[in-house]
Amino acid sequence: MMAALHHFLAMGGYARFVWPAYGVAFAVLLWMLVDTLATYRRRRRELARLEPDAPARR
């Protein structure tokens, strides 16, 4: 079991290229998601503050 995991993580000797590639791709996609969601939420809160009477919109 451990041997199989080790074999998988070793990526046939290319571990130091394959894992950083997946890591960078994941980090950039995550950054896109977090930035988009955080900006959207911040603006929604700001709008709610400016027009408290308006009906909540999705």
Binding site: M11, Y14, F17, A21, T36, Y40, L47
Partner: protein, 253 residues
């Protein structure tokens, strides 16, 4: 097309689409990851390093596709002066830059063990680097103006001129002797890549596409909220304007 260009209709339509796009992104990216890391076979020449291809190639496709979306939206915004088109172009730009960055970095990480170099100034790599700078230039330009409409117009012209780079990227591997290999999926005569590698690649590419679509719609909704905030602030500023305007200002009113 203009039927969907109405902001109120856009808000309704995007709200209905978004949950499905998030679901599709999660399922396709999850399945793509499993297929790419566990199911796809190692390459007979590249060994396990071929797995880098499953993020590199979808990111590269998205890099060009998002640029085309951005340029098309810019053209619609310039010609028909439609605000939602400008909003779409601006929302797409950082996403395109992100995909291009993934493409460049993963390509470099594949190049070192396979070519023996992180970088080479061949036509494919150079033209994709130019694409990355076009995205950055567009983002800087649209944000350089206080008035969003003027920024969108200046950026739109840059985006449209930059379209010339897309065929250069696509055909660079045919027009010049590049170290980068030629197309093996979107080519005349059909794909030459093995089916066991093509399927994981396509699933991952669809995942990238769904994720882009979801983020694009959310960023557009976000921009509409920002526009509403700006309008409310302007109204508030007008209301607080001097109570006793000067004679000239008074006359103008």
């Amino acid at each position: 097309m203009f039927r969907f260009a109405n902001p109120a209709r856009f808000l309704r339509l995007s709200a209905a689409l978004l949950p499905w796009l998030w679901l599709a992104s999660a399922l396709l990216l999850g399945a793509g990851l499993v297929l790419a890391l566990f199911v796809a076979p190692p390459d007979y020449q590249q060994g396990e390093a071929v797995r880098i291809m499953y993020v590199h190639v979808p990111a590269a496709w998205m890099a060009s596709f998002v640029y085309a979306v951005m340029a098309l939206a810019s053209a619609v915004g310039l010609v028909w002066r439609h605000a939602l088109a400008d909003v779409a172009a601006r929302a797409a730009a950082p996403l395109g830059a992100g995909f291009t960055l993934i493409c460049l970095v993963t390509g470099s990480l594949w190049g070192e063990p396979m070519w023996g170099t992180w970088w080479v100034w061949d036509a494919r790599l150079t033209s994709v680097l130019v694409l990355f700078f076009l995205y950055l230039g567009y983002i800087a330009l649209v944000n350089a103006f206080d008035e969003p409409t003027r920024g969108a117009r200046a950026g739109g012209i840059l985006a449209i001129v930059g379209v010339v780079n897309l065929p250069i990227i696509k055909f660079s591997v045919d027009w010049w002797n590049t170290l980068h290999q030629p197309a093996s999926v979107f080519r005349l005569g059909g794909p030459t890549i093995a089916a066991a590698m093509l399927w994981p690649l396509l699933v991952m590419a669809l995942g990238f596409m769904a994720f882009f679509a979801a983020l694009l719609l959310l960023r557009m909704r976000s921009a509409l909220v920002a526009a509403r905030i700006r309008a409310l602030r302007l109204m508030a500023a007008d209301a607080e304007a001097p109570v006793h305007p000067g004679p000239a200002l008074g006359a103008a009113r």
